[in-house]
């Protein structure tokens, strides 16, 4: 009897330090998202996705036996808050890597801090300035507006249209889109006859649209995020402007159709494949991942996935892969990130390199048209 108890005690003591070691070595990962504020339609699904993925990874044993711990802060879409959040993550929480932020200004505000502290950052924001020029520690998973505009222009050119009018929201997303639209027009043989802007919360854009109409374009491109573009769509119908209306991937969500109602009919836009998972061909490389993401997300949160949440989904997965075998060394994590190849994600197929920290190609976008209140894949 005595021998048995000693044996049991000895075994327990032998395991104790081992469990102690495992419990102590948690991989801390930071997240900064604009879960409240103007860009909450971006940050909210991103935050939820990250929490869900971390839970999932931990449930299947973590990374190399290390559990993940996510410390997520709200930037409220405010660059100053993002700065204080990133400082907290780097110096107080001592995270190994950071995912987010959700918008371009908040990302640009913290870039210097992560570079200085040498902490890998995977942003979920669209601005092309984030990864161009390439900064060693900064990556991003959202498609850049450069690709989105190219996709739209490709379609416009194929339709034989030469003159377009553009109307953009007066925030960083719309402004960045406007720059791309103006810069790339010549490459596709297009002429921008009129460029107008409107405020994110404007209730009426008929004045701007009237001005565009009088310049006689053959199509209108609207670049913004909800709800502004829905107002534009409605106004276009009210003014009976009978030319094609293109939108950006910023409205690639069911919410847009809900807001614009009948006015959404016939609108063409680029989107990540996540929006039309059901319509994808069985042979599409992304279909399985997208279905799995949709299943997990709706099981936990009872809602639909969005392209925006997809950015966080990809960021977490890419980071999880990059963490393997690094033992928590930030430099190794960074190198692994940069070496990521053929990663099939919700947003597209990622191929990072020393020169490309966005990793996506034009295939990340498909063109859709809104017909009968739902999406239809078009070539």
């Amino acid at each position: 009897m005595k021998k048995l108890t000693t044996a049991v005690l000895a075994l327990a003591l032998a395991f104790l330090p081992a469990t102690g070691l495992m419990a102590a070595s948690v991989y801390k990962v930071g997240g900064i998202f604009s879960s409240t504020g103007r860009a909450s339609f971006l940050g909210d699904p991103e935050k939820k996705t990250m929490e869900m993925m971390v839970e999932k990874i931990n449930a299947s044993g973590g990374i190399d036996g290390h559990m993940l711990e996510a410390m997520i802060y709200d930037s409220e879409g405010d660059p100053a808050k993002a700065v204080s959040a990133v400082n907290k993550l780097i110096h107080k929480d001592k995270v190994l890597a950071i995912i987010g932020p959700s918008t371009t200004p908040t990302t640009l505000a913290i870039v210097n801090f992560v570079e200085r502290a040498q902490v890998p950052l995977i942003s979920c924001a669209a601005g092309v300035k984030i990864t161009s020029p390439v900064k060693p520690w900064v990556f991003k998973t959202a498609q850049s507006d450069l690709l989105a505009v190219a996709a739209v222009y490709q379609h416009i050119k194929a339709a034989g249209i030469k003159k377009i009018g553009i109307i953009t929201v007066a925030n960083s997303f719309g402004e960045s889109g406007k720059n791309q639209l103006l810069n790339q027009a010549k490459d596709f043989g297009l002429e921008v006859v009129q460029a107008e802007s409107f405020g994110a919360k404007d209730t009426d854009t008929t004045a701007q649209l009237t001005k565009i109409k009088s310049a006689a374009p053959q199509a209108i491109v609207c670049w913004g995020t909800n709800p502004g573009p829905a107002v534009v769509a409605k106004n276009v119908k009210q003014l009976k402007i009978d030319i094609p209306l293109y939108q950006s991937h910023g409205v690639a969500s069911p919410k847009f159709i809900e807001l614009a109602g009948d006015a959404a009919e016939g609108i063409i836009l680029p989107t990540g494949k996540i929006l039309v998972t059901g319509l994808l061909d069985g042979s599409d490389v992304q279909k399985k991942i997208l279905e799995s993401y949709q299943a997990d997300y709706s099981a936990k949160y009872k809602g639909n996935v969005s392209g925006f949440g997809g950015y966080a989904y990809d960021a977490v997965n890419i980071l999880a892969n990059a963490l393997k075998g690094t033992g928590g060394d930030k430099g190794k994590i960074r190198d692994n990130l940069e070496a990521t190849q053929n990663h099939i994600g919700a947003t597209g197929e990622f191929n990072f390199s020393g020169k490309d920290h966005n990793g996506l190609s034009p295939e990340a976008f498909v063109m859709v048209e809104i017909k009968d209140g739902t999406w239809k894949l078009i070539k």
Binding site: D74, E76, S84, L108, S172
Partner: protein
């Protein structure tokens, strides 16, 4: 008079000790950076305090000067490569000039009208930051602000910048105190107590108000300069209406007409969002509630409010002793 200056000297020594102590012994860069932000906000609050507390003028657009300071130095030192220290002089000069131009017609107004005028001014400047994108970088912000350097010292690390900012704050406090104890200070207080009476005695109220407006604009611009070279990125969103509101809140909650009130207000309003981080979704509700509750029950600000509570409890104890 002697007691007063002795008290002032004690206050200043305490302040210097606190700054030195916190600066040298805080290891964690995160806390250093929070305190640096508190310092920058204190500068904003100090300037506005002089304007609101002593000269009795409401300004709901002061973030404009904060932004003017930040953008001037960003453009001059970032785009044109001019030395940041020279850019600082330009930033302050710019803000003071604009304050003069705007203040001349606006400070003739009173009460709500002045508040609305400054609000309008603030909004227009903010829209300008956003629309003049070729120069300011537009809504996406201005990237590439250089780091401050003074000879061998680079103001990049948390500790260096902490001392820079708090050094400036101390200087500002000294200047404010000097103004207040001078003839100008007495004239200011007379305006606050009763503008018509002051006019009757021969105080040039309009000119005085203008000078204080320009001074508070200068402090705002310096704060903007320090912010720009700290974060190395600025965008119009950081200088909008809500920021002006936040500045006014700092002054009012800390206590108007009190230099330490500015420090208290700035500290509270910088720390509060950090503390409320855990409440994420409820942060706005809690912030609004705190604002309302403090203003309803302690309208003179927390410094006065707490002092009042202390006085009342002391009197009670005294009375208790006597019977």
């Amino acid at each position: 008079m002697d007691n007063n200056s002795k008290q002032i000297r004690i206050e200043h020594s305490l302040f210097i000790c606190a700054v030195l102590g916190l600066g040298l012994f805080t290891e964690n860069t995160y806390y250093l950076q929070i305190m640096t932000f508190i310092g920058i906000n204190t500068l904003l609050a100090l300037g506005l305090n002089m304007l609101m507390g002593y000269a009795g003028q409401v300004s709901l657009g002061h973030a404009a000067f904060y932004g003017i300071g930040a953008y001037t130095t960003a453009i001059l030192s970032g785009t044109y490569g001019i030395s940041p220290w020279l850019a600082l002089v330009c930033a302050v000069g710019c803000a003071v000039f604009i304050a003069l131009v705007v203040g001349l017609p606006t400070l003739r107004l009173s009460g709500y009208y002045l508040g609305m005028g400054t609000l309008g001014f603030g909004m227009i400047v903010n829209i300008l930051f956003r629309e003049w994108s070729s120069v300011t970088g537009g809504a996406s912000g201005f990237v590439g602000i250089p780091v401050l350097e003074a000879g061998p010292v680079s103001f990049m690390s948390g500790r260096n910048y902490f001392f820079l900012v708090w050094g400036v704050v101390f200087g500002a406090i000294l200047i404010c105190r000097r103004i207040l104890s001078s003839r100008m200070g007495r004239a200011l207080r007379s305006i606050h107590d009763g503008e018509n009476a002051a006019l009757a005695v021969g105080v040039n109220t309009h000119f005085l108000k203008l000078q204080i407006f320009m001074f508070s604009a200068a402090l705002g611009a310096i704060a903007g300069f320090l912010y720009a070279h700290f974060v190395l990125f600025i965008s119009p969103g950081s200088f909008g209406f809500m920021v002006s509101v936040k500045m006014v809140t700092m002054v009012v909650i800390g206590g108007m007409a009190s230099v330490w009130g500015a420090l208290l207000g700035a500290s509270l309003l910088t720390l509060l969002p950090e503390v409320l981080h855990g409440f994420a979704e409820y942060e706005m509700i809690i912030f609004g509630l705190i604002l309302m509750v403090v203003m309803i029950f302690m309208p003179q600000g927390l410094t006065r409010g707490f002092l009042d509570i202390y006085e009342v409890s002391r009197k009670k104890r005294h009375r208790g002793k006597q019977t």
